[in-house]
Amino acid sequence: MELTGPRRWLLALLAATAACTACGAPDAPAPVRAAASASSTSSAATAASAVVVEGDPCADAGRYGDLCRSVEVGGRPYRYAVVPGTGRHDGGLTLLDPGGPGASLFGSGWPTDALDGLGTGRSDVLLLEEPWVIAAYPDACRGAVTDWYRALRADVPTRPVPTARTSAVGRACGLWSGRWGWTPASYGAVLDAVLAREGRPVERFVGFSFGSTRLGYAQAAGVAPSSIALLSPFPTGADAGGWLAAREQQLAGMPEPAASVVGEQPASRSLELAAADLAAARVQLQYGDPGVLDEVRTRRGDAALVGQLSDMLFGRYDVDELSPALLALWDETCPALTGWPAAPTGDRPVSFLQEFTAVCGAAPTRPVVPAPTSPPATSGRAPGVCVVTSPTDGVVPRSVVVPWARARGWSVVLATGRHGDPAFVGRCPAPG
């Protein structure tokens, strides 16, 4: 299923679908200097110190193990990859961010198509793995997430999930501490450590979808690539209320599974389908490729298909366990938008999207995320950021991307393709 640029399942980039009304608005959070102050780094690292890997952090990296490397920051290992380029191996690195949050770099999130999109003659490529993949998943946190999931399935769309259930997730799981997704500080500190180890700078940044937010982290840490490409970028700093409203509008155009599947229990699924599963399946379709949409149109009454789509959105496995990928999604996208509703609106039926993202509003405080900026001018060359989007992109609509980019002085290239199409890289001038 194609989500953010590279093939990835699930929520990856839920936030990227944002159709915000305040993109590029003056009140968007100003860039902050997040780089690795000792205190912020160590506190983030302390919260994230528990990992599931034993010994060599790369031993469980599977088929990409040869490409896996690791650094230790604040007592916690972080994994990354340097993919050999097809051109020079002695120059600066290309920092490729395939999007997310919620992508398993050395598993289903390996960005083969994005790497291919960089074309021949590319320099060596640096990829950072999101922290959740090797983070320990404590019982208290896992239980809180499961309780929230059970409540949502039982209540939505009839009534909202009790606030206590929602807020318990943030408390039990330590959201916004760098345990699951990146914080600007943890990303900056780890990137610093990686670049120090590799002994090479980042000369090029290519970010698909949510990669635009990671560019802001990197810049705040003092990394200044001279060439930047943002492909189907997520509009960091946009208004969450506008995003929710725009997504509700988009949902109206999605195929609707037959309501008759509610109450059915597909083979090989531990749970019956609830009304919330239908809503979740439709949200998942917003990330779907055309093939998936066609499947749903022709199999509206297929309970197994509906369950599958819902499970992909939540990251459900076993019976009602949810993958920590969902925590990574909340961990990074909540701070990347502003103005999350603090409480349910009282509307009936309840909005699934609002309930799915209610953990963002339930948090007492969230860190401020720096938005990406233009690279510094270099002698004889005008700085610039290449932004590419598709006029038919349903994940981050053109109506969102264009004003967000123009507010930063960046022009936008419109290109035919899907959200995060790897071919978009070819629409940006080659560095050099």
């Binding site: 299923m1 599931v52 060599d56 599977g62 088929r63 040869d66 298909l305 990251g315 496995y317 076993d318």
Partner: protein, 344 residues
């Protein structure tokens, strides 16, 4: 292979700790026989494993193996429902967890002592996909750690499965996947079939971690189904080394295209056998091992008669773990492993 899409089965049999000579009964095992002896061996048929899995349900150790499998797969982006995974404990120190779309054939493990006193352990698995998909949810590929950037498949044709065998901290994971190629031929159906395995050695204090020395994976028609196959149209990888230096091998079968994520470019010995529709790939690190985890992969394109329900292949997976990073006797042992023991 995600839970949502999963698939049909592969028969998986795992054998662990088997002395090379004893486990493979290789005809050219004279040197290995001279230098090794089996210290301990466990051999279970698929039926025995399934029976153990039924008895073990609710038992702490087997349940933990299942939870570990589910959680590990989820961290890779692969989601399985609990009803689609089973687990069993075999003897004192062997745990098996597997997707139930696999027909286990055999699990075998062995501990081998070499002439110099060094010990190595072996894990071996054989199995095959079940003949038919058991869930209508299968066939839909939403997330997988296998092929990338797939195009040109018949919608809903994806299927896949996985199993893990763990013996005293050494772990072999074997997985498979299958797509039906979209084409217009009327006398045959064409499939891509992939099989890969990872081996992770035990963590031992003092820098004495176990290291995989050999991984041997093979796929061929399930016994009794050779007649379903018309030909092996193509295979991957072609060779090790420079051809995979970008860690991605392009798969092309008529209109079907994908990238095979070849994560380990050195040490492979691909060995196709077109007449038997057999594809084998052996990874070896030679006499010295330098990593606690290693990996091997193979892919094949096969033509199948339209009368057959699918391309029904059987997988054999084998890994050998060494205590020592360098062992003067290991060369002999590795040659024995290359011998084809058959696995039905």
């Amino acid at each position: 292979m995600r839970r949502t899409m999963l698939a049909v089965g592969v028969t998986a049999a795992v054998a662990g700790l088997v002395a090379p000579a004893a486990a493979h009964a290789a005809p050219a095992a004279a040197e290995a026989t001279r230098t090794t002896r089996v210290v301990d061996q466990v051999r279970f048929s698929g039926a025995q494993v399934v029976a153990e899995a039924g008895r073990d349900r609710g038992q702490a150790r087997a349940d933990a193996a299942k939870r570990d499998f589910l959680a590990s797969q989820a961290r890779s982006g692969v989601l399985w429902d609990g009803t689609e995974v089973a687990s069993a404990t075999l003897g004192r120190d062997t745990d098996v967890a597997y997707s139930t779309n696999i027909d286990l054939t055999q699990v075998r493990t062995a501990l081998v002592e070499q002439a110099d006193g060094e010990q190595s352990s072996e894990i071996q698995a054989v199995g095959e996909p079940k003949a038919a998909s058991t869930s209508s949810a299968q066939g839909f590929r939403a997330g997988s750690d296998s092929l990338k950037n797939v195009a040109g498949q018949v919608n809903g044709s994806y299927s896949g499965g996985a199993l893990t065998v763990q013996v005293s901290g050494d772990k072999l994971t074997s997985a498979w996947e299958r797509y039906r190629v979209k084409e217009s031929k009327t006398d045959r159906n064409i499939y891509y079939y992939g099989h890969w395995a990872t081996a992770v050695g035990k963590v031992v204090s003092g820098g004495n971690d176990h290291h995989p020395g050999t991984i041997d994976i093979r796929s061929r028609p399930k016994v009794g189904h050779r007649g379903d196959f018309l030909q092996m149209r193509n295979y991957w990888p072609k060779e090790s080394g420079t051809n995979c230096d970008d860690y991605n091998v392009s798969i092309g079968i008529l209109g079907f295209s994908a990238g095979l994520p070849l994560g380990n470019c050195e040490g492979f010995t691909p060995d196709p056998n077109a007449s038997d529709i057999l594809m084998k790939n052996v990874w070896s690190d030679g006499a010295c091992r330098d990593s606690r985890s290693e990996y091997a992969d193979l892919g094949m394109a096969v033509d199948v008669r339209t009368s057959a329900s699918t391309a029904l292949l059987s997988d054999y997976s084998y890994a050998r773990f060494e205590e020592a990073i360098c062992d003067q006797d290991s060369g002999d042992d590795i040659r024995v492993i290359y011998a084809d023991p058959g696995w039905s």
